[in-house]
């Protein structure tokens, strides 16, 4: 269930996010720091998290990624772009009626692991996929 601070409407949650993570997770500079702030250090690897991402990104500025959690009781899905200067990319809080699957488009500065952390039943699970990002040759 969405945390109480957020369900009052995002327009009023100025520091709820920062408070929830003990500081702005967006400023965290390492994957370990992001995981720590999520409370997800030591998350269990799970094959029930599906990441649909390209092998080789056509353009690192717009990489379509689809994440599906087949773990029962999923309440949160977080995506971390390991090689970005600030790896935290997005966190989705899954409401009761929502299907725990979401598609978005990410910026990837270079070849990177996309690390997904799922919170389900109060526990944390993780999976990752690697996306190659090349510099274009004759893009123009």
């Amino acid at each position: 269930m969405a945390s109480a601070a957020i369900s009052t409407g995002i327009l009023s949650t100025n520091n709820a996010f920062a408070a929830a993570h003990g500081g702005d997770i967006r400023a965290a500079k390492s994957v370990d720091e992001v995981l720590k702030m999520l409370g997800a250090t030591g998350a269990t690897e799970s094959g029930d998290i599906k990441i649909k991402a390209p092998e080789i990104a056509e353009n690192g500025a717009v990489v379509p990624v689809g994440i599906t959690s087949n773990i029962a009781g999923t309440t949160e899905i977080t995506s971390i772009t390991a090689a970005n200067p600030t790896p935290f990319a997005a966190k989705y809080i899954i409401g009761e009626s929502a299907v725990p699957a979401v598609k978005s488009r990410f910026k990837m500065g270079k070849t990177t692991d996309v690390i997904v952390v799922v919170k389900a039943g109060g526990k944390f699970y993780t999976a990752k996929a690697n996306v190659k990002v090349t510099k274009g040759g004759c893009g123009g």
Partner: protein, 106 residues
């Protein structure tokens, strides 16, 4: 009337509502430099996004500058054809926008 930054599409199928949105927003990370002046282009990205159905939160997102420019989101929730869906976003400069659509409404 100010044009909405939000394009919202919803479709009902088998008891599930498919929600897709495309938002006009620069999503500046704050890392890029203006090539001519050498100065950093200030960070300007959506930090919070919420979708509600009939007023109840369905999905809430916390985004960073690592989300692409003109961001896209797609997901499904269990709902009905008579639902009213609202998408609201807020960015780091305090700007925000909101759009409400009935299911299937263009």
């Amino acid at each position: 009337m100010a044009k909405s930054t939000i394009k919202l599409r919803t479709k009902e199928k088998g008891g599930k509502i498919q929600v897709k949105a495309l938002i006009t927003h620069p999503m500046e990370t704050g890392i890029r430099k203006n090539k001519k002046t050498g100065k950093k282009i200030p960070a300007h990205y959506i930090t919070d996004l919420e979708v509600t159905a009939n007023g109840k939160p369905v999905i809430t997102a916390e985004w960073s500058g690592s989300i692409s420019k003109n961001p896209f989101i797609s997901f499904k929730y269990a709902g009905s054809k008579s639902d009213s869906v609202t998408l609201t976003w807020k960015d780091n400069t305090g700007k925000s926008d909101s759009l409400t659509k009935k299911i299937g409404e263009k």
